[in-house]
Symmetry: C2
Amino acid sequence: MPETNRVYRLAHRPEGTPTHDAFELAEEPVPDPGPGEALVRTLYLSVDPYMRDRMRAGESYAEPWAVGDALRGAVVGEVVASNGAGVDAGDVVTGELEWADYATAPGTELTRVDPDVAPLSTRLGVLGMPGLTAYFGTREVAQPSAGETFVVTGAAGAVGSVAGQLAKLQGARVVGFAGSDEKVAFVEDELGFDACINYETTDDYGAALDEAAPDGVDAYFDNVGGEITDAVFTRLNVDASVAVCGQISMYNDEEVPVGPRKLGHLIQTRATVEGFLVSDFEPRFEQAAKRLGRWVGAGDVAYRETVTEGLENAPDAFLGLFEGANIGKQLVQVAEREGGQ
Amino acid sequence: MPETNRVYRLAHRPEGTPTHDAFELAEEPVPDPGPGEALVRTLYLSVDPYMRDRMRAGESYAEPWAVGDALRGAVVGEVVASNGAGVDAGDVVTGELEWADYATAPGTELTRVDPDVAPLSTRLGVLGMPGLTAYFGTREVAQPSAGETFVVTGAAGAVGSVAGQLAKLQGARVVGFAGSDEKVAFVEDELGFDACINYETTDDYGAALDEAAPDGVDAYFDNVGGEITDAVFTRLNVDASVAVCGQISMYNDEEVPVGPRKLGHLIQTRATVEGFLVSDFEPRFEQAAKRLGRWVGAGDVAYRETVTEGLENAPDAFLGLFEGANIGKQLVQVAEREGGQ
């Protein structure tokens, strides 16, 4: 085991779109696990849009990082040493850990993973938080029914790609928005959406929706916000449901001076707009993950991952999220598992 | 009975804020009631913000009026003649009737009113559609609980004034927004709201809210929309509910290019925004009206009316709604009841 550990720390709070100088790769000694802790070697690291919010000083559902703090996120790793943590060296675990080669964590915050059930990377994607977010947001909040029209933004992303497929499983007509022809092809051909609109090459989202969703919109899963959401709002049907999951188009805006306009459309439609956090559904994670695993195994839910190699490239992977660089779940592979994979 | 009837007809579809020339006062013969119909003499006529929408060609929950159509609205009137309509001459009734001195309607669309229970005008206000809208929007959609903070816009208006008082009855801290010092005094002193913000003299709605609602906003009843709603959105608490009842600040806008921004606040709060129409609660109108009548009788719900005299002044009364001219329910008194009142 090397003596040096690399850890990404927040160098300063970015204003607007972050750049590389917000991330400082510190070289530090590999930490020793304290009592009840384990030392974990990072295999895969997840980068997610919500992390932008933690770089801000303001209030959010996730506590803001302090300048100098290690960045943190969902990790799949291998236990190197355990100091009474209830896991054994060689175990594969997931948890929220530092962006680092090695990190310590209390055993109570680590979850053991069976490495033979599914590729380890899926624990951060289709079988991890993004898949669960899609599951609860679609089935519990947006709630499309058979024959209804379900629209999802970020359709080629980690959450949207799963959300649309789950809506298909419920019998809905599914329309996505994605940002390139390659993504549109993936969404339509591999994920089986009924239609996907390339928002980068479409001027008139409303007209595109009228064609792709001629019967209006019954359920809307929003990861993006902004002008696409404006267009969807004017096409909501009576009793439509809007699940607000993310607003990535605005995460880098320092100020959004104008707020919720066009709410008149909610009156005539008696539609509901509801924000949600996957963490509120935690008691049901196990059941949901089992179902997702079954659907993935049966080929009912397809997934794709974009894997960036090397911890040093984690900021690239993160910043790419805001440029739509990824198809499916964006991961960083930090190391190979000793046993392979 | 005179032979000439006066009827207001839509002269043209207004663009932006309507002016008087959109209303044409036609002189016509008093109509004869057809089989099953009654002839009703108008006593009080209601003017309501939603009528602006019926002047537009576009889709809405209320069918648009055609140019040349008689304008229609809630009326309290006296039956002059019945052609097998199931009501008798002298009966007092309510229904949706023309803006006219006399109008016919099928008996099935008229509801008999006991003139001795409450002043007739209240059937168009606190005991009519506005009161019912406040009742269901507050109790079924916004749902403030004891100790929570309830905010309502249009607080001195027909709906908002009742909504805030119902929230008080539920034990909430109630904060209103209104557009003049006189309205603020009415809301705080006569209606008993905990605070009321004069939005015409306040530059920073957010700061005013921080003072009036220091614990944030748990339930929001929105009649107005726009910048006040922007400020409320950023102060929603976890699990907050927003009832969208009206958006009067935007009814005269031909186009609202920007839509629902700041939805990110719904994610961290898991808040719900829901549009509603009082008509969806029709099976429960009788129970609700009884309760409202009891509270009004007991002095738990106060109300005020702004009464404009004369059918010829109905457009003035309607247009005044968009300038905030009214305190409480805006009515037009068209005639006195033969029996008095």
